[in-house]
Every structure is written in structure tokens, then in C-alpha cells.
Amino acid sequence: MTQVLVLVETADGAPVAATAEQFAAAAILGEPAAVVVGKDASKAAGALGKLGAVKVYAADGDFDARLVTPQVAALAAAVEAAKPSAVIVGSGPDAREAGARLAVRVGGAYQSDVIGISKDALVTQQAFGGAFTVTASGKGVQVISLREHSIEGSAPAAAGELVKLDISGDSTPFAKIESKQTEATASERPSLQAADIVVSGGRGLGSKEKFALMEELADTLGAALGASRAAVDAGYCEHNMQVGQTGTTVSPNLYIAVGISGAIQHLAGMQSSKTIVAINKDPNVPIFDIADFGIVGDLFQVVPQFIEAVKVRKNG
């Protein structure tokens, strides 16, 4: 069976949560193998074997200050060694860009934002915010960027045989990472793409202070918190909370839009949610055209009452 490489991202030396799903995806196409880069890359071999890696290609070294290029070098070296049919990378900017560069370096199709993979190596993608579903094949070493939470199951545990890679000779020009600032508010809340429930607030919230109501709503439901671009632009919340055309695409079981009009670019990021609830004081806004349950009313009346009702149910 041919190997399928997974670019493993780590946090504090351990594989990130999305890794298991990426191995499950690799197992659909062949024999999963890991590519891991960093100070303690080799040490991750045991953990990666448990997740399904037959082989672990590890490039040990401190490459933290280089943007993307060490991952590309390691992947290219692993492609050379393993002759894989495909490479799976994650959906964050680092992983996507490493994948895109790898496709150029080794010659292969780059498939972005993939939400499904079939045994015969067809990938499923969405176009125009889910208005179209597309399947595609790829030539060469297919590089697949997998959207988080799109593939179920896991790969069976495997040997995790360590193969060391030496990328110290890589002289590709790179941008230097001077510092990293992670948000203090990186909270207990689930991420937008991982969550079963997403609640999003729009310009209707009126201010940053009042946007706190959305936080209370999210935490009551155990939901991820999103926002419209107007809310982001007005400074009510962080940029990475934006849902839509130029933000994150979500398709949770339940999406609750609060004080959001439903502009076409917002819909492009959430219209494939299973159930959609909208709360807006204007009966004529487009969000109601796609809502399964819509409430025409003042959000500052409706949302607090809803929060109380949910709490009563939970405790009673």
C-alpha cells in the first residue's frame, strides 16, 4: 500500500487535536505516515504511532523562527523518501501555505478546504459558501488541505517507526517570525469549525459592552462565538470570530444569528448549517429567508429570556 503523509502540527510538543482526523483521512487513501518538524519532533513518534502513523518522518531542530519553509522542506524530503500518493495538511494558514508550496516543489494538485475524501481519491469541496458541492481529482502527489471536523473515525494504531530527516541544508528564503501573540481570551469555548452550536452577533448588538450578551449566550449553550463583519469592523469582537465570505465557514447543527441582517456574504459562511435561528427586529431582512425559526423582536428582550429558559431546563 502506498503511504499517505500527514503534516503534523504540534503545540508544546504534542500533536494538535485535528491530527487524529487527518490520520483518519490518510487511512482512506493508503498507509498513514507522519511528517513532524521541530525541537522535539522525534519524541512525538510514540504518540503519532498511536494515532495511526506507520512511519514518522521527523526533522529535529529549532526552526520556530522561520515561517512555513521548514515544513515545506521536511515534507519535500519525506515525499522523496516515501513516494506517497497524497499529502494531508490542516486548514490553518501555516498548514495551507506549506501544502501550497509543496505542490509546486514536488509537482501535484493542491486541493483547498476539502470536506470529504473517497477511496478512489476524489475530494469533496464547497463552492460559493456551499451553494455548490464539487468533487475533484488531482494529478501528481495530491496535496489535500482538510477542513477541521469534516471526517469521522480514526486510523488504527500503528508502529510509528521513526525515520529522521535532515533539513539543515535548506536555504529557501524565509520570513522571520519575530514574536507571537496569542489572544488572552483564547477561552474554553469550542472553535468555530469544531462546535455543534455557533451563536453569532451582528451590528444589532450596538457596542462592545453589549456584545457581552453574546458571550453569555455562547457559554450557556456551550457554543462557539462568531460575528458578522460589521460587528468585527465596529470593534465589538476579534477579527478571527468573523463568519462569512471572508471569514470562517461554519456548518454546525445549530446556528443562531442575533442582530444580523443576513447579507449574502454572511450567508456564504453559514448557510449550510443544519438548523438556523435568527433574531432581528426588522421582519424584512434576508436572514429570515433561510431561518428555520425566526423571531421578529428586540434581541435585548429575547436573548436574556432565552438564556434564562435554557438555564431552567438545564438545572431542572
Binding site: L67, V72, G92, P93, E97, G99, A100, V104, R105, A109, Y110, S112, D113, A127, A131, F132, T133, V134, T135, A136, G138, K139, S171, T172, P173, F174, A175, K176, I177, E178, K180, Q181, H239, T246, N253, L254, I264, Q265, A268, S272, T275, I276, V277, P283, D289, I290, A291, F293, G294, I295, V296, G297, D298, Q301, Q305, F306, I307, E308, V310, R313
Partner: protein, 293 residues
């Protein structure tokens, strides 16, 4: 001319080593000498406000109507113009697309860009990100650009791959997904947007930058700009001018091949109620009944 201007982008590591040592000198000399050359990549896309479609026959994006320059590209041009205003620079807007893409280039010239490059040939129709980046690389490689600026992601394909692919092909340091950018003394610095925060990244020029929508608000072209744009040069380059073999070009030879396209039926509306003072309670009941909470 900055010393790096005389050099050409190349994929060979010898050249890269040379570029690195040269730009290093630029830095220790305390800044760019003379005029900086900036390329901005722009693209026409179906307007996000319109009803965008994929043609079931060709399996390609329907580009027959409502074509506009992608908003993110206007922002990329804005950033380049701000650099030009802070220091002497020449801004060249570059696009690959059908003949109608000229209109988009003119608009960017009206904003203040100096000239345009239009990669145009029917043979390019249906190109994927791999092929588009190859064509752009071929068009840019001999022109001595110090800085290449792109949007992080187009609104039609949302592939977000062309900037990184182009950096790979041209052997440029990539500073991508930037929400801020400063270009000073031959060094580009900015904040890269990450899912849980941001990273400050920097690189000596020549370099490639991609920007996110927070980077700037684009200016509107004024009347004077629109008049001036009519006289600004646009160079057209066809397949033959890029040295790309016809057997590599266009949808028939793409790396990624669309097999099927299925439109999703439009969503049906559901129950809409007017708040009578109990809507919050009713919503909780509705969601509980559907096992959603």
C-alpha cells in the same frame, strides 16, 4: 535603482544566495536607494453581491456577468500606494484574465497605480492555482520587483494558495496573511493573522506579501485619477510571451480536475414569529423539542 533591481528572480539557489547577500547590503547601507518597484496582483471575480454560479457544462465559475475587482485586491493596491507615498516607488498592477479584465486594471490605475500587466490568452481559461502561479511567476521573474503584494484569498476560489505558490516559484520570502505592513529600510514587517492571535514577521526585500481585509480601506479613484488612467500603459502578455508550453496551460491540463458540480437547492424558510413577550421561552421549547439543546 536599488541594487536588487538589476537581479532577476530565479529558482536556483545560487541566485537566491546572491539576492540574500545583496539585500543584506541594502539593509546595512541604511535603506533602499532610488525607486522601489512593487507588483500588485489583482483579479476580477464575480461580484459577491450577485448570484454566483458554476457553469454545469464547463464546470468552471461563470464569469459572464457582474465582474468586479475583488475587494481584497483593492486593499492590496491601497497598501502599495501607501508605500509609494511614503517613499519613492513604482506600482505595477498585474492580472491574469480574459480581455474584459482590462477594465479592472484601469480602475486600479485610476486609484493611482502606474502601469499594468495583463496576462491574457484563451489558452489560460480554466487554470488552477498551480497554473496561475506559474503564469504569474513567468510574467514577474525578469522584471526586478522588490515587493509583490497580493490579497490573501480571492472570494471566488477561496484557495488562498497563489501567494505562497508564487513565493515558492520566485524564491521569495513570504510574509502572508498580514493585517499590518510596514516597509522601511529595505525590510518588510507585519502582523500575520493566526486563528488564535497573530505573529510579527519580517523579511528583507525582495519579498512577497499577502494582506487580509483588515489591512486598509481602499481609496476611491477621483476624476483626475480616472482621466490619468486612460493614458497609463498596460502591457499584454500571451502564452507565447511567457515561455509556457501550450501542453501545460488551461483547464484541460490543470493539476486539479473538477469531476462533478452539484448545486444545492435553495433553503426553505421556516417558522417566523413576532415576539409577544414569550419568544425567548418559545425558542427554548422549539430547540429542546428538536433535541438541539
Amino acid at each position: 535603482m536599488c541594487p536588487a533591481d538589476n537581479l532577476q528572480f530565479s529558482r536556483t539557489s545560487n541566485y537566491i544566495a546572491m539576492l540574500q547577500s545583496i539585500t543584506f547590503e541594502v539593509r546595512i547601507n541604511g535603506g533602499m536607494v532610488g525607486m522601489m518597484k512593487i507588483a500588485v496582483l489583482v483579479k476580477q471575480v464575480p461580484d459577491t453581491w450577485s448570484d454566483r454560479k458554476i457553469d454545469p457544462g464547463t464546470k468552471r465559475v461563470d464569469r459572464s456577468k457582474d465582474q468586479v475587482i475583488d475587494e481584497i485586491n483593492e486593499k492590496a493596491v491601497e497598501v502599495a500606494l501607501q508605500v509609494k507615498e511614503a517613499q519613492d516607488a513604482e506600482v505595477v498592477v498585474v492580472t491574469m484574465g480574459p480581455s474584459s479584465a482590462q477594465d479592472g486594471l484601469r480602475k486600479m490605475l485610476a486609484m493611482g497605480a502606474d502601469s499594468g500587466i495583463h496576462i491574457v490568452d484563451d489558452a489560460f481559461g480554466g487554470s488552477d492555482a498551480m497554473q496561475t502561479s506559474a503564469a504569474l511567476a513567468a510574467a514577474l521573474k525578469d522584471k526586478g520587483f522588490d515587493l509583490v503584494v497580493a490579497g490573501n484569498e480571492s472570494t471566488d476560489g477561496r484557495t488562498a494558495a497563489v501567494p505562497a505558490m508564487l513565493a515558492e516559484r520566485l524564491g521569495l520570502a513570504q510574509l502572508t496573511f498580514l493585517r499590518t505592513l510596514e516597509v522601511k529600510n529595505g525590510v518588510a514587517t507585519g502582523e500575520r493573522l493566526l486563528p488564535n492571535g497573530n505573529a510579527t514577521v519580517s523579511a528583507a526585500l525582495p519579498a512577497l506579501v499577502s494582506v487580509t481585509e483588515q489591512i486598509a480601506e481602499a481609496r476611491y479613484p477621483n476624476f483626475k485619477g480616472i482621466l490619468a488612467a486612460k493614458k497609463k500603459p498596460i502591457e499584454s502578455i500571451a502564452l507565447s510571451g511567457l515561455g509556457i508550453d501550450a501542453s501545460q496551460a488551461g483547464g484541460a491540463n490543470s493539476w486539479s480536475v473538477v469531476e462533478t458540480v452539484t448545486p444545492k437547492p435553495p433553503r426553505e424558510g421556516g417558522t417566523i414569529i413576532k415576539d409577544d413577550g414569550t419568544a425567548g421561552q418559545q425558542l427554548a421549547d422549539y430547540l429542546a423539542k428538536a433535541n438541539l439543546i
